[in-house]
């Protein structure tokens, strides 16, 4: 299985390229090619769950000179999220994207984005990470503006400018770290940094990384692009952006670099916790006033990522007991997986609603449960999960995060987390009342359920929402071992540097 590891980026990149060539001859191939590519990737990601951690040396070059691909439990979880949600989004696109032109180009960009994200999570090299991050970002800029309407282009341009600044900041940080440590290899860099300590250049690099990756993860002072960009994209892309992209490019990179390269630190911990709490509260309060289906979901994404960042920041604190840090990290990863599932579900639901009714305005919708039972039911399940009602998955992960915060004596942050959980319930009740339940407007009397290719991913994701909450013992081991890999800087270093 180790030999297939680089294929996680090679397959989607190659498929994206050949897709454009083949569709010059025959247009219908695009659907099949994208579907089979994503099926293969999804299967590979599931198989990788049973692998032990290993290091793949690209081209056989040894550690400090060559590029390394590192596989550990955190990578396994991220690969699973990216490729499985990506597969479901592809199935959804088969029908949904027929309302757009240039389907082949859409699939190519989609596969480029998948390839970039897979590259970000498997690489063990700083500059390689930057390159893959740019591949995924450029594809996502283009996908946000795919509709080529007025709003789409404006949102895409804003996202492009801000994303460009974030990438520049990240490259600047990498340049600083390279000049301090003389290597780009993450484990070697970690070892060098232990000798150097936190000097001013390293702290400046940390600040640039928090700015850059924080912008990709859209935590609050850097969030301005997300509420425009995510609603403007086609629904499966919104699901990919909100469900996967901000996690792979933002949260995963913060976790990997802050824990495995810099190590636990008081200052970084308090900054990330503050940013997390700020995003959680601000975006949560702003979501209540929204009247656009997708825009409300976009604000809710920022708020939920705030929960993850808060827990990540807590685990970064070196002075709390290791048990509490492990619990916080476990909560962060659990919420990350859960958010990927229910936020993609809700965005796909919004797409199904828009596909049949032609609007996303909450004031013009209502009573859809009678006409679109599958979409309505799955939307309710998603809303209940994200609002944190037992026994759905969102409840357990929020509970773990709150318990960890309380055990670390962060009463204020813990209280805010509970309060925002309540606010989440408020705006999702509003969402439910205005779409799924309530009175059916006369205009919508004749609508039908969305086609099978669109309802199938919805059902799968809704089942996952319940399963992740109820069948928790079956996958507990994966998450716990991922949390412990993240926290133990030495395992990551020893994987490469040796003993």
């Amino acid at each position: 299985m180790q030999g297939i590891f680089p294929l996680f980026t090679a397959i989607p990149l190659a498929a994206a390229f050949f897709n454009l060539l083949i569709t010059k001859v025959n247009r219908k191939v695009a659907d099949y090619l994208a579907f089979f590519t994503m099926t293969a990737l999804g299967t590979m990601a599931v198989l990788m769950l049973f692998e032990q951690p290993f290091v793949y040396k690209v081209g056989g070059w040894e550690a400090p000179w060559g590029i390394l691909l590192v596989f550990d439990r955190l990578t396994a979880i991220m690969l699973l999220i990216i490729n499985v949600i990506g597969w479901l989004a592809t199935v959804y696109s088969l029908k949904y994207m027929s309302t757009y032109t240039a389907k082949a180009k859409y699939y190519s960009l989609f596969l480029l984005m998948i390839g970039g994200m897979n590259g970000v999570v498997i690489t063990g090299d700083m500059f390689n990470l930057f390159v893959f991050l740019e591949i995924a970002s450029i594809a996502s800029y283009a996908l946000v503006g795919f509709g080529c309407g007025k709003d789409e282009l404006e949102a895409s341009f804003k996202y492009l400018i801000l994303g460009g600044i974030a990438s520049t900041g990240i490259l600047f940080g990498i340049a600083f770290l390279y000049s301090v440590t003389g290597t780009l290899n993450m484990p070697h860099m970690a070892r060098q940094l232990e000798a150097v300590g936190m000097n001013k250049a390293v702290l400046f690099a940390v600040a640039l990384f928090i700015m850059g990756f924080g912008l990709k993860a859209s935590s609050v002072p850097f969030h301005a692009w997300l509420p425009d960009a995510h609603p403007s994209a086609p629904a499966p892309i919104s699901a990919m952006l909100s469900g996967v992209l901000i996690k792979a490019l933002g949260v995963y990179t913060i976790i990997r670099i802050m824990f495995n390269v810099f190590g636990q630190n008081h200052l970084i911990s308090s900054v990330i916790m503050f940013l997390g709490a700020l995003s959680m509260v601000m975006a949560g309060l702003m979501a209540i006033g929204q009247s656009d289906f997708k825009r409300m979901l976009a604000y809710s994404s920022i708020s939920q990522i705030g929960y993850v960042m808060l827990a990540v920041g807590l685990a970064l604190n070196p002075s709390i007991p290791s048990k509490v840090a492990a619990l916080a990290m476990f909560g962060a990863l659990y919420h990350l997986v859960n958010h990927a599932v229910f936020k993609s579900l809700l965005f796909l639901d919004s797409g199904a609603v828009e596909y049949r009714t032609g609007t996303r305005d909450l004031n013009k919708l209502g009573g859809l449960i009678t006409r679109m039972p599958v979409t309505g039911a799955t939307c309710s399940i998603g809303s209940l999960s994200i609002a944190g009602l037992p026994p759905f998955n969102g409840f357990w992960s929020k509970l773990v995060i709150v318990i960890a915060l309380m055990q670390a004596h962060h009463i204020v942050y813990g209280g805010l987390a509970i309060f925002i959980s309540f606010i989440t319930l408020v705006y999702f009740v509003k969402l439910q009342k205005n779409t799924v339940f309530g009175d059916l407007p006369d205009r919508l009397k004749a609508i039908k359920e969305a086609p099978f290719a669109m309802t199938f991913p919805l059902v799968i994701l809704a089942i996952l929402c319940i399963a992740l909450g109820v069948a928790y013992p079956f996958f507990q081991h994966q998450l716990v071992s991922a949390a412990s890999t993240v926290l133990d800087k030495l395992t990551f270093m020893n994987l490469v540097v040796g003993g």
Partner: protein, 120 residues
């Protein structure tokens, strides 16, 4: 002879100029130029990291001993990074320019303050 730190400082000045251009100018073409200037400042910074006064190309020819190489050879890695980063910058620039063309078709203006249908 210009002191070494001044060169680093100048790259930072270019970076800040680029950011200023990005924030203060309303014309979207100028904003793009701002992004490109920040990218170039980082590229210059990377080149400076690999710079060595009186350095030689890091190729082990017959008339160069390994010790001379270690003393004088420049670090080749930043140059490779700069090349990659220039190519990425070109890709982003192409996308930005094509996006601006489409924006102009829809809005008939290059003024960012008039392109504000979305709330942000």
């Amino acid at each position: 002879m210009i002191p070494y730190w001044l060169l680093y400082f100048l790259t930072l000045v270019i970076f800040v100029l680029g950011l200023y251009c990005l924030v203060a100018k309303k014309n979207i073409i100028k904003k793009i130029i701002g992004v490109v200037i920040t990218e170039y400042s980082i590229n210059l910074f990377l080149v400076l990291i690999g710079y060595r006064k009186g350095g030689i190309a890091p190729i082990l020819l017959k008339d160069i001993s390994e010790q001379q190489m270690a003393e004088k050879g420049v670090d080749p890695l930043p140059q490779a990074l700069v090349l990659t980063s220039i190519v990425i910058g070109l890709g982003v620039l192409a996308l930005m320019v094509s996006m601006v063309l489409r924006l102009y078709e829809k809005y008939k203006t290059f003024d960012m303050s008039e392109i504000n249908d979305l709330k942000g």
